[in-house]
Every structure is written in structure tokens, then in C-alpha cells.
Amino acid sequence: MENKITLPRLAAMMAEATGKPRRLCEDFLRELFALSAESLSAGENVKIKGFGTFKLSPVDARKSVNVATGDDIRLEPHMKITFIASKELAASVNAPFEMFESVEVADTFSISADTASAQPGPPVEEVAGEPSVEKKAVIEEKAVIVDKPVADERPIAEKQSVVSEETPVAEERVAIGESVSDSRSDSFEELDADEVPGKRGFRFGWGFFAGFISAVLIGGVVVYLFGFTSLLDRQAPQEAASASEPAPVAVAAGADTVAKPVGCDSLAAVAPIATSDSVSGEMVGTQASDQPVYDTISHTRYLTTMAKEHYGNFNLWPYIYKENEKILGHPDRIRPGTRVVVPPLSKYGVDPANPAHIRKAKQMGTEIYSRYK
């Protein structure tokens, strides 16, 4: 993130992907861009199939200012270089958000400040990748605002979200972090009023809250250590409902977790670390074979994950769903531990490389969801 990838580095990635010698990839890249530069300076657009097009567009003369001196200058008419990514590149770049689609909303709908944390109605569903990063930024922002004394508590919460950024549980913990920071900033504001009378009272409130949170977290850890199997039954409905959902995780869950009392959330959060560790050992082989394959839903493995692994495209999850229709209910609410059959693509005559099939799969997905709305 925010790294600068140089040409040799890019060449190395390509060499890894194709198996071609790194030197060749490097030379290729240099040649490619040199050639493109030549064509562009000769006035030709450069179209690279599967990558994108470099276009030249004429730009009129316009008045501007010399940034160094402040004098007015005139920019001559010239050609501007623009790049338009191909569909494949654009999709690959948008990978973390690729599963989202535009959704029609009512005419009266409007985006307000609240929408950022608790999204309404049918719209954008949460996913672990990007949003958790953005949410983390929100938390860190709030952490900065929050007073120093409670610093010991915050790092624990944040460290957890950093560590498990990849897992969907991050959303959970992030939501906790947010709810904690929300309630924190609430109590902060509340106590702010009291602050004027005496700073002592203010400090006391903070210490109490910090103690309460740490006690709850420790309690959760203790429960886990004592084998949460007895609690699992009670936990499972909560977990299934709040912690572990196949992506895309429905927004309602996000709103729920924020609303639930903090204690509940931290328990649900601590347990998933354990389960996802143990369940991840169950990962099934990923070759596409003609034999039907079994896979298991877990906190980290959703239908889309399986589709991506077995079929090469997460949009094909409806086929896995269809195969297991009888035992599955709402696709976002599949109990972790559910064993599903991953049908071979040949059974439905689906080719992952065919965009028409992908579109059909997406339609199937929408249709499945509509059954439950």
C-alpha cells in the first residue's frame, strides 16, 4: 500500500506469473514503453490489448500562471496524453470492490453523514478488504481525538484489527473498535461537561471505563481458554448471525454489531480468532476436477471464496448455492461448519472465461437474493 513499484519489480512479478526469465520481462517492458512513447510522439494512439489505450487529445491554448514567478503565461495548444484502462485491467484494479454493483434507490434517498457507518436499505454491502482499511482510518482518527490516559486500551483494539486485517473478523473487531470509540467519545463528550468542575472526576470516569473494557476482554479470553465448546451452542447463533457470514456480509449485521452491547461483541470477536484458526486447517484442494468436491463454510470461507478457488471467479458462487439449495437458506447466513458440495463446472456447462456466463451467474445471484427479500 502506497509503495512505489519500479520496473524491475514489475518485471519480477511478471516473471513469477509467466515463468519467463526476469531479464526478458524487463527488456520487454522497456521495449514496450519505449515503443509507446515513440508512437505517441508521432501522434499515434497506442492501444495495448488487455491493458489499455494511451490516447492523444488536442488541448486548446489557455491562459495560466507561472507558478514560480506569478506572471501570467499562455499555454500553447498541445496534445494531452490520457490513459483508459481496458475492462480487464479495470476489473483487476477494482478487485476489492468487484463484487459490488450499482443499486437503484428511491428518489427520496440521499447520502448523509450517517451513511458512512450505518448504511441503509438495499445498498452497498460491507466487505472485509477496503472498508475495514477505511474504518481503521476512522478509528485512528478518533483515537487521536481521544485523550492520552486511555492509551493502553486503544492499542489492544487497534492491534487486533491490524493483525487480522485480512479476515472478515476484522470487520467485527473494527465495528467493536468503532462502537468502543463511539461509546468512548460519547462518554468523553458527556464527561466533558463535568470536566470544568474538576479534572479529578474526569479522570475517574476514564479509568473506570478502561477497567471495564479490559475486564470484559480478559473475561472473553478466559472463556475461550476454558473451552468454549459448552458456550458454542449459545454462541453459534450469535456467531452465525453476527460474526461469520459469507461475503458479501449484509449491512444489517454491521449495524447490529455496533448496536449490541460491547461485552457481547468482544466475546464473539475473541472466539472467531480461535475458530478461524482451527477451521482454516480444513482448506480443500483447489484443483478443478471432474469429481465433486466438498468444502466447508467458515468465518473466512464463503461461497464466493470457494467459487474463486474452485472456478477461478467468485461470481460463480450461485452454482455452488444451487447445488446445495436444500440445505442452504439465505446465502449470507450460512452457518459456519456447513459442508457444501462444490459441483464441477461441467455439470452446468459454465465456462469461467466466458463473460456471458459470468453475467448469467450474477443474475442468478440476484435472483437468489430476491427470494429472501
Partner: protein
């Protein structure tokens, strides 16, 4: 298609382009910047979700957040284009 193919075979070129596209895509998805000397660099732009209006139906749409890739030409390239034209 590439208007001219130099040194290597056509298939290899195709493969390499595909690999390049995939690698650049991955970097951009991770919000990294891909720099090509004397050419420019490819960077990612994050677009937050927004309300849009469907051009033909006029209905309101909620467009989800997305990451886009943008290209910034280097000064050298811009100069070349200016001179050449």
C-alpha cells in the same frame, strides 16, 4: 493489438502483456504506484460511493465505492509528444 511486434514471438508478447496487466492490476488494487522511467506512472484513485442518475431512465443509482487506475505521464514523455507533433 500492438501495432508492431519486435524481438519475441507473438504468443510470448500476449502472455507478457497479460501478466503485466495482472501485476499492475494487483499493485493498483493494493494502492501501490507503478513507475516506468521516462514514461510516467500509474496510480490508483479511490472513489467513494455516490449517488448518480441513470442516463437513460433518469432513476437514482447508488454507485458503490471503487478503485480506479490513472496514468500520469512524465515530463519527458510530455516533451516528446510536444516536440514530435
Amino acid at each position: 493489438m500492438l501495432s508492431r511486434r519486435l524481438d519475441i514471438s507473438v504468443d510470448t508478447v500476449g502472455q507478457l502483456i497479460e501478466a503485466m496487466s495482472a501485476s499492475v492490476g494487483r499493485c493498483a488494487a493494493a494502492l501501490d504506484v507503478v513507475a516506468v522511467p521516462s514514461f510516467g506512472f500509474f496510480e490508483s484513485r479511490r472513489r467513494s460511493e455516490r449517488l448518480a442518475v441513470h442516463p437513460s431512465t433518469g432513476r437514482k443509482l447508488l454507485v458503490p465505492p471503487r478503485i480506479t487506475i490513472a496514468f500520469r505521464p512524465s515530463a519527458i514523455l510530455k516533451q516528446k509528444v510536444k516536440d514530435g507533433e
